[in-house]
Structures are given as C-alpha cells and as structure tokens.
Amino acid sequence: MTNLIKRKKAERRFQLYGIFAVSLSLLFVLTLIVNIFSSGIGGFYKTSFLMEIHFDQKLLKLEDNPSSEQIEDASFRKLISYNFKENFSQYSKDEIKQIKKLFYRKIDKETQSYLLKNPQYLNQKVELLFTASTDIDQIHKGNFNRNIPEKQRSINNFQLGIYDQFIETGKVKKVFNKRYFTSGDSRDPESAGVASSVMGSVFTILICFLLSFPIAIFASIYLEEFAKSGKVTDLIEININNLAAVPSIIFGLLGLGILLNFFGLPRSTSLVGGMVLSFMTLPTIIVACRSSLRAVPPSIREGALALGATKNQVVFHHVLPLAMPGTLTGTIIGLARAVGETAPLLMIGMVAFIMNVPSTPLEPAVGMPAQIYLWSESAERGFIEKTSSAIILLLIFLIVVNFVSVYFRKKYEKKW
C-alpha cells in the first residue's frame, strides 16, 4: 500500500518537473521579450527642449531673402551663442556653457535646418524644439539614476537644476525620433539611425534570395525528378546535409578566403554578404523544395505524361507549380534566419561604421544585426537604448515574416 502511494507521489513529482521545465522555458521567452521591449521602446522617442530663437540676419551675415545655398553656407555658431546669452541672461558665461551641454552638440545644424525649411523665420523670434543631449535624454527617460553622487554622473547638480526648471516651465517634450529611421550610423547617439543598416540588410537579402532561390529549386528538381541514384547523387545529398550543420562563421571564412581574397570582390558590400548568406540558405530551401516536390501525388505526373507531355513539361508545368507554396514557406524561413545572421557578416567586413545609406549592393554597407553588434559594443549609455530599439525592429520584422509564412502555408498548401 505504501508502495503505491510512493509511486503515485513519484508520478506527480515527475509531472511537476515537466510543468516546471515548460513554464521555465516560457518564462525565458517572456523575460527576453519584455526586457528588450521595455528597454528599447524609448529609443523611438527623444527628449527635446523648447527654446526661443531669434534668427538675427546680421549675426548670420545673410542678405534679405537668402537662397538655400546661402543658408547652407552660413555659420550658425554665433547665432546660437547669442541666443543662449539672451535666453539665460541671469547666468554667468561659465554656467551658460554648462546649460549648452544639455543640448545636442550639433544644435547649430538643427537651427540651420529649421531656417532652411522655413525661410520666413529670418529676423523673427520663434520657439522651436531642440534635441536634448543623450545624457539628459537618458535621465528624462528614467534609464539613469539621477540620485547617485554628483561625481559619478556626467550631468552636474547645476545642470540638473536647469533641467528641473525646464520641466516646471513645460519646456521639455518627448517627441517621435524621426531621425532614427532616416539617418545612418553616427558617433553621437542623438543622431544615430538604422536607415543605412536596414538598407544594407535589404540589399543583402535581395542578393541572397536572387542567388539561392533559383539554384535551390533547380537543384531540388534535378535531385528529386531526374537524378538516378548513384555515387554523385549520394555525394550531393551528403553535402547538402553537411552544409545545413556547418557553423555560420565558417561560411564567413569561406566568403573571406574565396570571394574576397581569391576573386577580389569588394569588401564590406551587400553583394558579398548576400552571396555568403545564400550559401547558408541554399540547404534550407533545397530541403523544403524537395519535400514539397515529393508530396505532389504521382497521379498528376502520370496524367500529364498520358496526355503526351515530355518529362520536362511534366515537371515545369505541373509538378513545380504545385510544389511552390511549400517551397516558398521554406524560403521565407531560410531568409528570415539569414536576416538575423551576424557572424558571417563580421568576417567579410560588413561591420563598418557606415553613415551614408547605401543605394546599390556594391557600396560598403552594414547589416541590421551587425549594427546591433556595433552599437552594443559602444560604451555610451544612449547607444544601449538604440541597440534595444534596433532589436525590436528586427524582431517585429521576423515575427511578421513568420506570420506571412504560416499564412502562405495555410492558404495554399494542398493536402492530397
């Protein structure tokens, strides 16, 4: 009798272990996602200060009705320091310098772009929004504890006082950070954006798709429909299986050794990145395509053959279109994996500091995950938030892609 109770207890215990394991795994997913989202969502916003600017014509040395070239050539330094003196006239020179540090370093460029967009501001006093410096931005978002001793923070007590004053007078605003989506990388977290890396990833994936998709389909057709079983076919099969298991960094070494060093293709470009990633996605697509080719029932083939089609016509006109949904699902999954792949990009130099948004696959570029890597290595606090934001974008993209692939499968996949 005691034995039975013991066994039942053991049974319950075992089941509890299982529940524990599953819930712990689910907890990991939750922690990861909550952590990334909570630390990154702020990166889409930036703290800005309202400040009155007097666009004095004389200080800018501009004529009446200046052209945009003239505005571009004008120096806004003097104008800015004049306006700071005006707005904070009760403070000493040294204190004004400290106040200026609450703003983004390139405040003169911001002022300039305001005037470029609105030439009628000339000689007027306008209240405009200016980006706050990354340190104050982090404090405002609560990512940085302002109560630690003064010596340990980059913002001193006087600056904090001014900042509190700004808050009281309602001069602090949280605005959508448009620049994050339109500009490339930068040394300053205030102006760094993901545009160049997103473009780099788009080109890379495009090249990867253009190379791997047709080759994989043709290879699968050959292996599934035409190949006679023999030594060569076996060798191909073994190789495809092996390639699927080779660590991604080895593909990076292949790209470096063969594509860059031997063929002399340009370093750091999406072209090489796409080629390397296509080597990795090839096996995934081949496996998916072959299994969907295999799933097409023989009756389709026999019907077509009976009507007098040649073997090629059977395959290309009847079997392949029916196998397409499954193949596309596999392709999407393979490409989604390639988007997140970082290690091969490190090997071929797609981790450079890229400010310009690339417009062709032959320009130096950086991939989205490589950008995440670069930013995460940066010591500045503002970049940590940027990294999380970039990760959010990447994850959202992957989730969308996965839903699309599931939708595809549900909608078009036929069960015979």
Binding site: F14, A21, Y222, L253, I286, G340
Partner: protein, 461 residues
C-alpha cells in the same frame, strides 16, 4: 556592374521573339517538329548562356588585365618597387579612381588613377561590344535551326537538364570551397607555426606575433607557445557544457511533458512559443547575455561572497543554453513521438504508471535518437559565435571554473579577422586553422548524430 546582365537578358528576349515569330510564320504552311515557342527558347539559350559565361570570365579577369595594363604603361616607375609596395600602390590608386582621396597622392598615383578611369570606360565599352557580337553570332546560329524537321524541344530540354544538373553540383562546390579555403590558409599558417604546437600548445597569446611584426623577422621559438589551441578548446567545451546543463534537462523535460502529459490546448500554445527562442537572432542573445545576465550574475555572486568576472563563462553558457532549449525539445519530441504506441500500451497493461512508462520504456527505446539530438545541440553550441563574442572574454584561460572568464574558438576567429586583415602574418592566418578545427569538430559530431538517429529509425520503420 549588373547592367551587362540586363542588357543580355534584353538581347535574349529579342532573340526569343524573332525566332518565335519566324517559326509561327513557317508553321502556317507546313508542320514544324516542335512548338514555335521552343524555337524561341532555343534562341534565348543560345544567346544567353555563352554570353553570360564570357561576361563572368571578363569580370574575373578584369583586375588581372588592369594590373598588367598599369605595369605596361607605367613600367619604369613600377620596376623599382617590390611586390608589397606594388600592392599598396595598386590599392591606393584604385581608391583614388573611385574618388576616395586622402590628399597625399603623388603625381604618379594621380596619373595611374586617371589611367584606371579611362581603362574602366574602354573595358566596359569593350564588354558590351563583345557581348553584342557573341549574341549576334549565337542568334544567327539559332536562326538557321528554324527549319521544319529540327526538333528544337529536344535540344532545349537537353540544355535545361544539363543546367539544373550543374545547379545541383553547387552544394559540392560550396563544401569544396570551404574545405579548400580553410586548408590553403591553414597550411600557410603552419609555415609559421608547427602544427603540433598549435594542436597541443597550452598557451594562447597571439599578441606575441604582433611584436614580431614590427621586428620583421619571424622567430619560431616565440611563436612556439603563442598559438596553442588547448585553452580555447577548454573554454569552448566549458561554455558548451554549461549550455547543455541548461538545455538538456529543460528541453528534454519540456518535450516529455508536451508529448505525453500536456492537454492539447497547452501543447498548441507552448510549442510555438518555445520555438520562438530558436528564431531569435543570436546577436540578440549576445546583447542580453552581456548587458542583462552578466551584471546580474556578478551582483548575485558578490552578495554570496564569490568573485565573479563580468565576462564569466557562466553568463554566456546560461544564455546559450536558453537558445538551445527549442533545438533539444523539438528533436526529442520527434523521437519520442516516433516510439510506437504498442510499447506504451504494453507497459500500461503491466500496471506501470505514466512516469514509469516514460522512464523505463519510452526513454530507453528513444535513447539513440535523444543522444543524437544532444550531439547536434552540442555541435550547435560549439559553433555558436555571437553570444560568446559579446559575452565571453577575449583572454584565454584554461579553467573549469565557470565564474572565471573563458574564451572560445569562434571568439578568437572573430578577433583575429575583424579590423585590419593582412594575410601575411600568423595572427590573422590562425583564424583559418581555428576554423578548420571547428569545421572538423562539428562535422564529426553531426556525422555521429545522424548515424545514431538513422540506426534507430531502421529499427522501428
């Protein structure tokens, strides 16, 4: 760079329609051996295939021709340089021709850059000329074949079949490429360092090779204990082991619970959610390990009185383990589901509880498959790069203490090859030797895993 391809496609499509129209016209009076479209396809293939091969050849040969052209035109001034200087000169001139200037170029370099620009123009003009000529020639040949008794369908299908056969060979070519590039550079590396010192050395300090660089003489005695792989192997195995400690129990127990106990609703929800872990890019895990997990572990260690490094093997190992959970669980799930129901029924009939059935019947019979999945997971852990690059240390440390920093093979490959890469010193070449080692380790593990899984499958099918 890709405009010639578009140009060729255009020519081929034009050829297709010209030939098709002619055969349509012919077929009004007499019967053709194939459908008109096949005469069109014939023209398309005849034009496109040889021309694209010519284009690729020109593309590959271009830099070689350029170099020789420059040496010919600048002959005297280049003859005083040695090969290193020529390489430097070439890269500087190429940058200059692309408009990248550092403002310190000599007149000779500027002259050469102008030569390159004019060469580029002539070369691209020549490319188009050659492609057009070959297309016209090919079209004329295809045109002659538009006759009633020529079976163009058969020819087209033969070409297509040959083409897809070549496509299927690419898998072999890639493997060959990996192997050759790794072996070639590894041999290069072994000309500096004795393979035995590499494989059995207990010291990893590649910076020693850096010192030699400046002295310009390579002293093999110093290199002797600079490139020992053992500490890296130790670190790699330590981190993989930690990852397995997390992934194996959690993955296996999740798989068992979801396959045997969980109600359908929970299974349908939990399985895809756990699979999310497999879809998250590794760089995200790396970020998480370095910025969230590692500081927490340091804090926790401090509160318990342990000295924990901020780049401890533990942080990287734990996070890697989380990443591998879905890998273990989905593979084990497949194997557990493959165990025939009759085995379970037999065990229940003898009065065993569910857990006893699982432990004493299902797991033993699924064991080969489960071990196979473990091996695959280990090979995944060993080859994983981003987590360790971001969270593990750079400094080699032969230890089994997970609280100490450790480095891995993949981390060192990345460190050796990011930044300036000059392929004439052992410090960068060692990356390929490490890559080859990694390649063999993972190949070996996968081979074994697949073999075990296959053997198991044969029993029940």
């Amino acid at each position: 760079m890709f405009y010639p391809v578009l140009f060729l496609l255009l020519l081929s499509v034009v050829g297709f329609y010209l030939n098709k129209n002619k055969s349509v016209y012919l077929s009004k009076n007499q019967k053709l051996a194939s459908l008109p479209a096949y005469y069109g396809y014939l023209a398309f293939l005849y034009i496109f295939v040889p021309a694209i091969i010519i284009w690729l050849g020109l593309l590959i040969g271009k830099s070689f021709i350029l170099q020789n052209y420059l040496i010919l035109t600048l002959g005297d001034s280049l003859s005083v340089m040695n090969s290193d200087e020529i390489n430097l000169f070439m890269s500087k001139v190429k940058n200059l021709s692309l408009g990248i200037s550092f403002g310190n170029e000599t007149d000779l370099e500027k002259f050469a850059a102008e030569k390159i620009i004019s060469f580029d123009k002539i070369f691209s003009l020549l490319t188009y000329l050659v492609l057009t000529l070959s297309s016209i020639l090919a079209f004329l040949i295809a045109r002659k074949k538009v006759i009633p008794n020529f079976k163009s369908q058969r020819t087209v299908e033969k070409i297509v079949n040959r083409f897809i056969q070549i496509c299927s060979l690419i898998a072999i070519l890639i493997t060959l490429g990996i192997f050759l590039s790794l072996v070639f550079e590894t041999l290069n590396f072994f000309s500096y360092v004795n393979p035995l010192h590499f494989l059995f050395g207990l010291n990893w300090s590649p910076n020693k090779a850096f010192v030699i660089d400046s002295a310009e003489t390579i002293d093999k005695d110093i290199l002797r204990d600079a490139f020992g792989i053992i500490p890296l192997l130790g670190g790699t195995l330590l981190i993989a082991f930690l990852a397995m400690i997390v992934a194996i129990p959690l993955g296996l127990m999740s798989a068992i619970y979801l396959a045997e106990y969980a109600p359908k609703k929970i299974r349908d929800f939990s399985k895809p959610v756990i699979e999310i872990l497999a879809g998250i890019p590794t760089v995200v895990y790396g970020f998480f390990a370095a910025l969230v997990v590692a500081p927490k572990i340091v804090m926790l260690g401090k509160s318990m009185g342990f000295e924990v490094s901020s780049e401890s093997a533990l942080a990287a190992g734990l996070v890697m383990g989380v990443m591998i959970i879905p890998f273990v669980s989905s593979l084990s799930d497949d194997v557990i589901n493959a165990v025939p129901q009759s085995l379970r029924d037999g065990s229940y009939a003898l009065g065993a509880t569910k857990s006893e059935t699982i432990i004493k019947v299902i797991l033993p019979s699924a064991l080969p498959g489960i071990i196979g999945s473990f091996l695959l997971a280990i090979s995944r852990a060993i080859g994983e790069t981003m987590i360790v690059v971001m969270a593990a240390s750079l400094q080699a440390n032969l230890t089994i203490n997970p609280l100490e920093p450790a480095t891995t093979i993949t981390t060192q490959i990345v460190t050796a090859l990011t930044g300036d890469t000059e392929f004439d010193n052992p410090k960068t070449l060692v990356a390929f030797a490490l890559g080859l080692t990694l390649f063999f380790i993972t190949l070996f593990l996968n081979y074994f895993a697949l073999k075990i899984v296959k053997k198991y499958r044969e029993i029940y099918d």
